[in-house]
């Protein structure tokens, strides 16, 4: 049996955990067909851990949905498989290539895979008739996200209208939707990047190995370090260098940069992040850098 809390105080991490578990249970109780959008990144793994806690010892009362960009890191896919097997969860993988073949998405050669995830995701939600989709978004990530509700209503087209958001009071969530609409649910809304890492550390949560410092051939491009691979080859004067790096986010490998690091365990990562002076998206996500309003635009279209 765990300790008695003599002072009846919950640490902020325990409060966040309790709030997230409450959200998972509320959605499972009120929605007909929820799904958890699983990217394989640390935030979606933390969601999985919280969902595991919310329904233990029962299995998750909803499947996972992953959008496969075809450009995922192998390490991310193998961690995903390990989680799915341990939880006995059901996973639906929607691929961008299939979405292109089905005409949901057009590959014009200029659009990033990240952007093409939108059509793929919306196609999969509609095809399966999901009424609620858990996402790992956090309000601390970006200015537009700061105004997102925990329950974020999406219309028939899967779009977010920031001016039509429902007021969200106390912990009373309103899950009413019409046929064809769905709700995005963000159980990690109040977590910060540092909270996520503390939780991974405390709970000893399995995450993809590329989050930890390792040696890798990289190219510096537009101020980002990109991993050498079939899609990333040196251009012009670019040099291939061997560096100790880690990834702070694990999206599409052609868009996701890494940072120099010596942090090989979670404690060391927490130390590095605590002194980091650049937000995780700004540093390593090429697709967020186009404009200050980049995220707002993608969210309106139905991005995670």
């Amino acid at each position: 049996m765990t300790n008695t809390h003599v002072d009846y105080q919950l640490s902020q991490l325990d409060q966040l955990e309790a709030e997230s578990i409450h959200i998972f249970r509320e959605v499972a109780a009120e929605f007909e067909k929820p799904v958890l959008m699983f990217s394989g990144g640390k935030d979606s793994i933390v969601m999985l851990r919280l969902a595991e806690k919310a329904f233990f010892p029962a299995k998750l009362p909803f499947p996972l949905l992953q959008v496969d960009t075809g450009l995922d890191f192998d390490e991310v896919l193998s961690t995903r498989d390990s989680w799915v097997e341990r939880l006995g969860a059901r996973i639906i993988v929607a691929t961008i290539d299939e979405a292109i073949a089905a005409g949901h998405v057009v590959d014009d050669g200029k659009t990033s895979r990240n952007r093409m995830q939108i059509g793929t995701l919306l196609g999969a939600i509609e095809e399966n008739g999901f009424t609620a989709a858990f996402g790992g978004g956090r309000r601390d990530e970006e200015k537009a996200r700061a105004k997102e509700r925990v329950y974020s209503h999406r219309d028939d087209f899967g779009q977010w209208d920031p001016k039509m958001q429902r007021p969200e009071l106390w912990s009373l969530y309103n899950g009413r939707i019409h046929a064809g609409e769905h709700m995005r649910i963000f159980p990690l809304s109040n977590w910060t990047e540092l909270d996520i890492w503390h939780y991974i550390h405390r709970e000893q949560i399995e995450i993809p190995s590329i989050y930890f410092a390792h040696e890798r051939d990289v190219i510096e491009r537009d101020g980002m370090l990109l991993s050498l691979g079939p899609e990333i080859q040196p251009k012009g004067n670019e040099q291939v260098e061997k560096k100790m790096v880690r990834f702070r986010t694990v999206g599409d490998r052609t868009q996701t940069g890494c940072v120099e690091s010596v942090a090989t365990d979670t404690a060391a990562i927490i130390d590095e992040i605590a002194i980091a002076r650049v937000t995780e998206r700004g540093a390593t996500r090429g697709d967020d850098r186009f404009s200050e309003a980049a995220m707002e635009d993608r969210k309106k279209e139905g991005y995670f």
Binding site: Y8, E26, F55, D140, P167, W170, L172, D265, V278
Partner: protein, 431 residues
């Protein structure tokens, strides 16, 4: 449950164990609220380089000769274009002792609903006034709303003190005026702090310009205000949210009632009663994930097992036999109305209270409260957008409720339009 850190050579490891303060800010653009939040984020080193660079370049392109910290928090493009804040935004920062969640709400009259939303989860309310203006109708209204929402701690920050030559007289005058006004409200704890958000005086660092002020800086107060005792640890309230029945071979007979503790303490051996049925039982054990816990208290999310095989489902509540809310279908509440179409007698709505959902009909609108004067307008026939009034409801299902003044979770509800599905009202139960 908690694993031992692999290495703990850094003070940053303590962050996971620190506590949490949720506070709501109120004030208009002119009061310098966004600047103050920008200042808190900047001085607590919660702003990152790229965020600051973006704001600096925007400030430059707008032709400002200073970095406009307000740009850090004005999130949506439509707001940036209009230069106003239109919705509740949540911000996060941490100091070595506390993590803070700010519900940043706009101050304009038409956005009362946002203020009520932001205050609903706040432990503390921060009201900003411009030292040159003194108390305005708007700052009074903010205080009324924070009081109505039973936010237990209030800070009145008198901003732009630099523009009144750091006058103690100005500070004392506003302080006195506010204290007099506050006697009509329910504000258990008040702190009045003279600041300059633009220059940072008394925000994080103590100002040399206010030698006559001996109180805390804003940040010091936020870090040290005691919020743990604001929770009700006496009256046990456990709304059942979800019934966990694995139906697997390993857990064949497992039947756990999952939920978040809304009040009191639950432990093994406690005599309980299940509402509304009134069936008695005892707590067999309380679990958090795969661990049994000795006690559960607010706001823990746990799973409760009972000794008897009684019928319990979502929407029921576990309480103590001699301390249980009385199920009631007649609800007397203060309602904040949040949509254009006014609330009228005989109107039917969906109601959500704890984990219970039903329908409600408006029996009577007793009065409309003028949040500026506290005058009760008894002649009113309806409640318009952003109006607050005392309303009698009749519900289809009995609610297991407490007065809002006793418990902010079991005393609150939302009203939902059955056609549009939109949240149109927020209710606080009287009693």
């Amino acid at each position: 449950m908690a694993s031992t850190p692999q290495t703990s050579d850094s003070h940053t490891m303590a962050q996971g164990e620190m506590d949490l303060l949720r506070f709501a800010t109120a004030g208009s653009v002119d009061d310098g609220k966004s600047t103050l939040i920008g200042r808190l984020l900047l001085d607590s080193k919660s702003i990152f380089e790229d965020q600051l660079e973006a704001v600096e370049s925007t400030s430059q392109s707008k032709g400002y000769d200073y970095t406009d910290l307000a740009l850090l928090t004005d999130g949506l493009r439509s707001e940036r274009e209009q230069g106003i804040t239109i919705d509740v935004a949540y911000r996060y920062f941490a100091t070595p002792t506390r993590k803070f969640i700010i519900a940043d709400t706009p101050g304009h009259i038409q956005y009362t609903r946002n203020m009520v939303t932001g205050a609903s989860t706040a432990d503390l309310g921060l009201v900003l006034v411009d030292a040159r203006q003194g108390l305005t109708e708007q700052s009074r209204r903010h205080a009324v709303l924070l009081s109505l929402l039973r936010v237990p701690h209030l800070v009145l920050a008198i901003n732009k003190m630099d523009l009144v030559d750091w006058s103690q007289e100005v500070y004392e005058k506003i302080h006195k005026e506010f204290t007099q006004f506050a006697t009509k409200l329910n504000i258990p704890d008040l702190e009045v702090i003279p600041i300059s958000a633009l220059q940072g005086d008394n925000v994080v660092n103590r100002s040399e310009n206010t030698p006559w002020y001996s109180g805390p800086t804003l940040m010091h107060h936020l870090e040290h205000v005691h919020v743990a005792s604001d929770r009700d640890l006496v009256d046990t309230r456990f709304p059942v949210q979800y019934v966990i029945r694995p139906k697997s071979d390993a857990y064949h007979d497992f039947r756990g009632y999952a939920g978040q503790v809304a009040g009191g303490v639950l432990k093994k051996g406690d005599d309980i009663v299940v509402l509304p049925s009134g069936m008695p039982s005892k707590i067999a054990k309380v679990e958090l994930f795969d661990q049994e816990v000795a006690e559960a208290f607010p706001p823990m999310s746990v799973t409760v097992h009972l000794e008897d095989d009684v019928d319990v489902s979502r929407g029921d509540m576990i309480a103590r036999p001699k301390n249980a809310p009385k199920p009631s279908q007649d609800i007397d509440a203060m309602i904040c109305w949040m949509t254009n179409e006014p609330l009228k007698p005989r109107q039917k709505l969906a109601i959500k209270h704890t984990t219970r959902t039903g329908r409600a009909m408006v029996k009577d609108i007793q009065y409309r409260l003028d949040v500026n004067t506290l005058h009760r307008d008894q002649d009113t026939k309806e409640l318009g957008l952003n109006e607050i009034g005392r309303v009698q409801l009749r519900t289809t299902v009995p609610l297991l409720c407490d007065p809002y003044s006793k418990n902010r979770t079991t005393g609150s509800f939302i009203l939902i339009d059955e056609v549009t599905g939109v949240t149109v009202g927020a209710g606080m139960i009287n009693g």
